[in-house]
């Protein structure tokens, strides 16, 4: 069989760590090939080797039948391998066509060029206006710009790194149409993801990595999502289920909360209203950058709100700071771990004190009881399986997943009556995400209320009984999930209402 790209026994080490250990995979022409794995499984390393930004220690590659060892990304592009990165490299103040021309060599921006952009955009269903300024575009549109830029180089292999992590469901299905067309036209695609349902939908082959090693080359449709996930994390997943949905009266409500953003690129919040019942999990879905950060600041109390807009257990809390809100048993987990939810240069024990309520066993009259802090930190570490050498380990030395587990544990140990959490599993590996979800469900089963702000729709759908969508600073009413719920959410996410 003629393979487009053959990778044989690639090994790449960083010191003692083998980021890729004897990895082989073959990409067929016109195929969409998934590269699956958790964070740290070695996906990025392998891609960097293919794209020429890393030299492997051992192993060889063949591209279109010939020996292939790119010295740099330029070399790789020259030979027909293009890549769309997870983080886009576009200039916000320039137009689409200017951005595209900047990324290419030996072309000028003229009418022919613009026409060529339009041609590609029609051919592959990549809806884009070449004259628009990139700063005004949605994330999905920016990704389309990146794809067109790659296509202009006539690639034979397109590498896509986590392409759907920031897209709405509608944008995802548009993207899939484009990708299928591309594959039919002879451009194979290496599709990096950890979203298993998507992989089963669109990929014809899958290579699964774990801890730098190849676990399996398989056909994703022959396995269930559960099986793929278990191959990926190397252990059994626990099924999520609420054992006890017993929601009581409203415990927390937001009433007509508006806020003008003080940041030039911020989003204004427009009269947001929402209520959360005891024992229920409420989700706010939406693409990042639609007001989530602004809302979270108000909910935590980093910025005060006008009277009457926030109420918790019958108290008007708009004027309270986070410390005083915690005193009422309201706890928070912000999205940003380092520098917001935790201080990077302080040990876990010191970080424990960040979210202490006013009356806490950790302090009395402001004097810190380090003995109790130590005990509590130990408890969080053991209860939430945080991998660390000691309680004094610096927050920045922990992996993202571990630090997230610590932060979730730190709040849950206070038995919050209301927990407000943003992106609970952002950048967290599947195993840890599963643990965190379980812990949240257990908390709600106990009768506490939870408000989740997340752009991971799967997460919202699997956890929440009541779902709202935040789009351009406006919050929708609760979506009725019984009748075409997903479709409605998708429409609300892109801001179109019916």
């Amino acid at each position: 069989m003629n393979y487009q790209l053959q990778i044989n026994n690639i090994t790449k080490s960083y010191g003692d760590l083998k980021a890729n250990d004897d990895v082989s995979l073959n990409i067929k022409p016109s195929s969409i090939h998934a590269l699956l794995g958790e964070n740290g499984a070695g996906k990025s390393t392998l891609v960097k080797v293919i794209y020429g930004s890393l030299l492997p220690d051992r192993g060889e590659m063949k591209w279109l039948g010939k020996s292939y060892s790119p010295k740099n990304p330029f070399d790789a592009r020259e030979q027909g391998i293009a890549m769309v990165f997870q983080h886009f490299s576009l200039f916000e103040s320039l137009t689409v066509e200017e951005n595209i021309v900047l990324g290419l060599d030996g072309v000028r921006l003229d009418e022919n060029f613009t026409e060529k952009i339009i041609k590609y955009s029609k051919q592959y269903g990549l809806d884009i206006n070449p004259h628009q300024v990139v700063g005004d575009l949605s994330v999905g549109a920016r990704q389309r710009v990146e794809i067109i830029r790659c296509l202009m180089q006539n690639p034979k292999l397109l590498i896509m790194d986590e392409p759907t992590s920031v897209l709405t469901p509608q944008e995802v299905s548009d993207l899939f149409i484009t990708l299928r067309k591309l594959a039919d036209d002879g451009c194979s695609i290496l599709y990096i993801s950890h979203k298993l349902e998507e992989v089963r939908q669109i990929c014809s082959e899958a290579t699964i990595l774990r801890g730098g090693k190849l676990v399996e080359n398989c056909i994703p449709q022959e396995h269930t999502q559960q099986e793929l996930a278990e191959m990926m994390i190397g252990k059994k997943l626990i099924q999520l289920a609420r054992s006890n949905i017993n929601s009581g009266e409203d415990i927390f409500s937001i009433n007509n909360l508006s806020r003008k953003s003080d940041d030039m690129f911020g989003v204004d919040l427009k009269s947001i209203s929402l209520s959360v019942m005891k024992g229920s999990i409420v989700g706010i879905a939406g693409v990042a950058g639609n007001g989530q950060d602004e809302l979270m600041e108000l909910l935590i109390g980093e910025i005060t709100s006008p009277p009457g807009t926030l109420s918790f257990k019958g108290n008007d809390i708009g004027n309270l700071n986070s410390h005083q809100r915690r005193e009422l048993s309201m706890f928070f987990i912000p999205e940003e771990r380092l520098g917001h939810g935790a201080v990077p240069d302080m040990g876990l024990n010191e970080n424990m004190l960040l979210s202490r309520p006013q009356k806490s066993e950790m302090t009395s009259y402001g004097v810190i009881d380090w003995q109790n802090v130590e005990t509590l930190t130990q408890k969080v570490i053991s209860d939430f399986d945080v991998q660390t050498f000691s309680t004094k380990m610096l927050a920045k030395s922990l992996s993202g997943g571990n630090l997230q587990k610590f932060m979730v544990g730190r709040e849950l140990i206070q038995n919050p009556e209301l927990l407000i959490v943003a992106q609970p599993t952002w950048g967290v590996d599947a195993g840890s995400a599963n643990n965190i979800h379980q812990a949240l469900i257990a908390l709600a089963d106990q009768g506490s209320a939870i408000l989740i702000i997340s752009q991971d729709l799967d997460e919202i759908l699997s956890l929440c009984e009541q779902i709202h969508v935040l789009s351009e600073g406006s919050l929708s009413t609760a979506v009725d999930m019984t009748n075409k719920g997903l479709e409605k959410i998708s429409q609300l996410m892109v801001g179109s209402e019916d």
Partner: protein, 355 residues
């Protein structure tokens, strides 16, 4: 090749070893400098005069402690503010204003006897320093004006204000128009704790203050507040700390302590208010604070070390006719090596062969 690899936990061994390493490197560099510039003078004897002699004689020792006391008091305040990322560079100015305010109280009660006069002067000194640093706090919290510029520039204003006061209201009426105040009467002079020397109660106060500051930083949530505000402002908000309050606290504490040190200097070794009050203690205390790694107990030691360089430096000026800059070179090198060596606390050095 040498490579620095971040440690997962700060190294306790290095926290203790790095100052010794820095001292050794400073000594080696100082030796090399002396060897290259000194003609006909034994380098070892200069070293002896610089570092050892001040410790062998009770007069020198007492002078060393006299110089260490104001450095300690000012550096304690600065170290608290620096932890919070509030850069009060103008402790010298607050020191001067504190000195003027406290002295004015002493002069107002001239010839009045009473144990309460010294505490009242100290209070006035603290309030004077607080007021002066408070200007910077107000401008920063209200108008986001950079406190580095405000405090630094106000230092020059303070020195001019001192000279205006000494030529005007505070001038000694029977002092032949010299710009000096009256000599303070006994009740307005600090008690001497070492008979026959100039060593005054200020040293005891400095040690007590450093213990209080240590408690505040290690054991009280206030220490966490300033530390977090300095290193992660958003996390400070998350924890419910008010960042304006942190700025106010930092400046009021460092300003108040600098003011107290100024009054102690006037009511202690000087015994009157003179144009010679500002002696760069406010600036040198910045070095002291950093040498101590902003640790209140460390300040006790680093101020002694810097005071040693002052006394030793004066001695080599007298004995060997060397320039005054020797002291500054020494202090500069010390700070440089301390900061450089501290990288070993957070990083480990790994040697590896290149291919």
């Amino acid at each position: 090749m040498i490579r620095l690899i971040p440690r997962v936990e700060n190294s306790t061994a290095m926290i203790l070893l790095s100052p010794l390493l820095a001292l050794t490197l400073t000594a080696i560099s100082a030796y090399l400098i002396f060897v290259s510039i000194l003609v006909d003078i034994e380098v070892s004897s200069v070293f002896y005069t610089l570092f050892v002699e001040p410790l062998t004689d009770s007069y020198y020792l007492s002078e060393l402690l006299v110089k260490a006391a104001p450095l300690m008091i000012i550096a304690l305040g600065l170290s608290i503010g620096f932890r919070a990322g509030v850069w009060n560079i103008g402790a010298e100015g607050q020191y001067v204003i504190g000195g003027i305010a406290g002295s004015a109280v002493g002069l107002y009660f001239y010839d009045v006897e009473g144990f309460w006069i010294i505490p009242l002067m100290a209070l006035a000194g603290i309030l004077g320093g607080m007021f002066y640093a408070g200007i910077a706090a107000f401008l920063k919290t209200r108008y986001q004006v950079n406190e580095i510029l405000v405090t630094l520039m106000l230092t020059y204003v303070a020195v001019l204000f001192l000279s205006a006061m000494l030529q005007g209201p505070l001038r000694n009426p029977s002092g032949f128009n010299f710009p000096e105040s009256r000599l303070f009467h006994d009740s307005a002079l600090l008690p001497i704790i070492w008979e026959g020397t100039r060593l005054h109660i200020g040293l005891v106060v400095a040690i007590i203050l450093s213990l209080i500051a240590w408690f505040g930083i290690k054991k009280h949530i206030f220490g966490m507040q300033i530390k977090i505000s300095g290193s992660a402002p958003r996390a400070a908000k998350f924890a419910g700390f008010n960042d304006n309050k942190t700025v106010w606290y930092s400046l009021l504490i460092s300003g108040g302590l600098a003011g107290l040190a100024g009054l102690f200097e006037a009511a202690g070794p000087a015994g009157q208010l003179t144009p010679g009050l500002p002696q760069f203690y406010g600036f040198t205390a910045i070095i002291v604070a950093f040498l101590a790694r902003l640790h209140p107990i460390g300040v006790l030691f680093s101020s002694l070390l810097i005071a040693l360089s002052y006394v030793g430096g004066e001695n080599v000026q007298i004995d060997y006719d060397l320039p005054k800059s020797i002291t500054q070179i020494f202090q500069g090198m010390l700070l440089f090596y301390f900061l450089a060596c501290d990288i070993l606390i957070k990083y480990k050095v790994v040697l590896f062969k290149t291919i």
